[in-house]
């Protein structure tokens, strides 16, 4: 086994699938010779050639349309949106076109497209780069949204996403790209989409998170443990659809839940999770389901990110509120 950062695990997943299936094509802005602005596609063009790994003109809508056309002719496109803040330029291609293809064709065409994109705050990018826009896609039927929080998960989930015959938006939190390494098998493996993962076991409260907030929650859980509170931390891994079963199993044990998301509060994933818990398990609850989110402003300029993003203190405060309710 090798020690890998998340970005290395992502590259490794693409290399694995480029090797496995000649229909897999990897493309986007600067992904060819340059290896991607984050180096996610480093070395892939040299290894697989310009026909399989290539640069596109600078036009996100065009990249989305290109993927659809390649998908129609039997390819398995892995397209990159250089920063997820640019997704608005290709919203029609992703949620208007790819997501509806199976239905519009009565099941005749599928769209095995993986849309990879860096997202999330904390790395001080220029504005409209880091935004947490995953909720926009999660709200759109016909497309899955997958968000890994560790190198191991990233490789297995990305391989599963590429092999899936429906569109998957695969979001990579920029802060996690190189923040830590862990053991990642060199051989291929998959992780089921649509399944959450319990990242820490605990009996007193359930924390539900995804992306970088999984680590914020784990850190908060460690600190709470010193105070005698044992939090269970669930990593959603796929945010659309939500694996409600794993959440309910945990909440029925802990009777308390706090949902943590980096995105703004309004119409978010956390709201969906909270609603699902009250739908299915209200009689198991000892306290209301609380949320930790960013405020409902636009994503801030870089110098304001640190005060804007939710942190461990916010998580601990909410946990104590549900414990002491």
């Amino acid at each position: 086994m090798a020690q890998m950062t998340m970005i290395q695990a992502i590259t490794d997943a693409m290399r694995t699938e480029l090797k496995n299936d000649e229909n897999v094509l990897v493309f986007g802005e600067d992904v060819g010779k340059n290896g991607g602005v984050f180096r996610a596609t480093e070395g892939l063009q040299d290894e697989f050639g310009e026909e399989r790994v290539f640069d596109t003109p600078l036009a996100e809508s065009g990249i989305g349309g290109l993927s659809i056309g390649l998908g129609l002719t039997g390819f398995r496109p892995v397209m990159e949106i250089q920063f997820f803040g640019f997704v608005f330029e290709t919203m029609d291609a992703v949620v208007g076109q790819m997501a509806r293809m199976r239905y519009r064709s009565g099941g005749h065409y599928n769209m095995p497209v993986t849309i990879r994109s860096p997202f999330g705050g904390g790395v001080k990018t220029p504005e409209l780069h880091a935004d947490s826009l995953e909720g926009l896609i999660a709200q759109s039927p016909g497309v899955r949204v997958v968000i890994p929080s560790t190198p191991y998960d990233a490789k297995g989930l990305l391989i599963s996403s590429i092999r899936n015959n429906d569109p998957v938006v695969f979001l990579e939190h920029m802060k996690l790209y190189r923040s830590f390494r862990e053991e990642v098998p060199e051989e291929e493996y998959t992780i089921d989409l649509d399944k959450a993962d319990v990242k820490r076991e605990g009996k007193d409260v359930t924390l539900i998170a995804y992306g970088a907030m999984v680590h914020t929650s784990l850190k908060a859980a460690e600190e709470l443990s010193e105070e005698g509170i044992e939090a269970e931390v669930i990593d959603l891994r796929t945010i659309s659809p939500i694996d409600i079963e794993t959440i309910l199993e945990s909440v029925k044990k802990t009777n308390r839940a706090v949902v943590v998301q980096e995105a703004q509060k309004m119409a978010g994933i956390a709201a969906s999770v909270a609603a699902a818990i009250t739908d299915e398990a209200i009689l198991h609850l000892e306290a209301p389901v609380l949320r930790v989110t960013a405020p409902d402003t636009v994503f801030p300029f870089a110098a304001a990110e640190d005060v804007w993003l939710p942190n461990e203190t916010d998580v601990k405060e909410r946990v104590k509120a549900v414990i002491n309710f």
Partner: protein, 360 residues
């Protein structure tokens, strides 16, 4: 200097015509190599499509069809271009471009299902390289660049052709599609059927460009403006575009045409934005009238022949509507079942709920 460059470019985009309004050949050198049977087939298709359009409008008014965008006036532009294609070429149509799909192999029955908003309208038969009619103006244009690149990567001797109207040429996707296809030397043909109005907005208010064809210059691909009421010119231009596409140069074809009817049958009233003088000016250019004159002069067409086509069209349309009436109505479970290959848990639950509802 810059002014001169623009003027030079604009002057080079002259309308390409073979058959004039009187049905006379005005460009003998460009006359395509079509057999007598092929010429008659082109005529049959145009006459058939005109009858189908009339029937569709009438069925729509009776509430028996659903969504319909009239095509009369545009037959040469639609059918002349499709006629130059190979059976395995891909068509990415807009919502008005149903005739090209039908003459490429889709059944009338399926066209009617599409009009009625039934998902089976999009269920293409195996081996039929058609994409469902696009609703978002211009979205099909970038997808065409993708299909074309896919065909090139697969080493196929086939092209991808897409259709939009003059309004589509205002969309960003129009430029992105031409630019991508040009950059990848992909075998694509972009047809803009300029019927002079994007619903109601006249083409001269949509762009400062004198022609739409000249927009190809910016993308570094071929561009040509064609008389869209002249089926021979449209055929010849598309045939050449197809050859060039396979050699790595896409083409933008602007066909100058006119839709006699409203934008769609959903309440558009063309008298608000077009004059009857303009209508009759275009009716004089009618594609069927001029081609009929030409074929009659060659003794290839007669009233009797035309009546046969009219009767055949009426019978087939009647049968297709009957077949469409017999299709089972859609259920919510059909919709849920066509969202994903493997249903996610939320949709599994909803599938169960609706199965129960629908069983009652």
């Amino acid at each position: 200097m810059a002014e001169k460059t623009l003027k030079n470019i604009e002057e080079q985009f002259e309308m390409f015509q073979i058959l004039n309004e009187e049905g006379k050949i005005v460009n003998k050198d460009a006359l395509p190599d079509l057999s007598d049977e092929e010429l008659q087939e082109l005529m049959r298709r145009m006459v058939y499509t005109r009858i189908w359009d009339q029937r569709a409008i009438s069925l729509n008014r009776q509430g028996r069809l659903g969504f319909y965008a009239p095509v009369a006036g545009q037959e040469a532009s639609m059918l002349g271009s499709q006629f130059s294609l190979d059976k395995e070429d891909w068509i990415l149509p807009g919502y008005r471009d149903i005739p090209q799909m039908v003459w490429h192999g889709m059944s009338l029955h399926q066209a009617f299902l599409f009009s009625r908003g039934h998902f089976k309208g999009g269920q293409m038969a195996e081996g039929l390289n058609l994409v469902m009619p696009q609703i978002i103006i211009g979205a099909q244009i970038i997808q065409t660049a993708g299909v074309a690149l896919g065909l090139k990567r697969r080493g196929k001797d086939n092209v991808a052709i897409t259709y939009t109207g003059d309004g589509g040429a205002s969309q960003g996707d129009f430029y992105e599609g031409m630019n991508f296809a040009g950059a990848y030397k992909a075998p694509a043909i972009f047809v803009v059927q300029n019927n002079y109005f994007a619903i109601s907005v006249p083409v001269e208010e949509q762009s400062a460009a004198k022609t739409i064809a000249q927009k190809a210059v910016a993308a570094g691909i071929n561009g040509i403006q064609v008389d869209g009421m002249d089926v021979l010119a449209v055929y010849a231009a598309t045939k050449e575009a197809r050859k060039n596409a396979l050699e790595g140069t896409p083409t933008l074809i602007e066909t100058l045409t006119y839709r006699y009817g409203p934008h769609t049958m959903a309440g558009d009233d063309p008298t608000r934005y077009r004059t009857s003088e303009l209508d009759s000016e275009w009716e004089k250019k009618d594609p069927i009238v001029r081609f009929r004159k030409y074929l009659e002069s060659k003794k290839l067409w007669s009233e009797e022949e035309e009546n046969k086509v009219v009767e055949k069209a009426k019978e087939e349309i009647k049968a297709a509507i009957k077949e469409t009436d017999e299709v089972a109505p859609q259920k919510v479970t059909d919709l849920i079942g066509n969202m994903f290959e493997e249903l996610p848990v939320n949709l599994q639950q909803q599938m169960d709920e609706y199965k129960e509802k629908e069983s009652k």
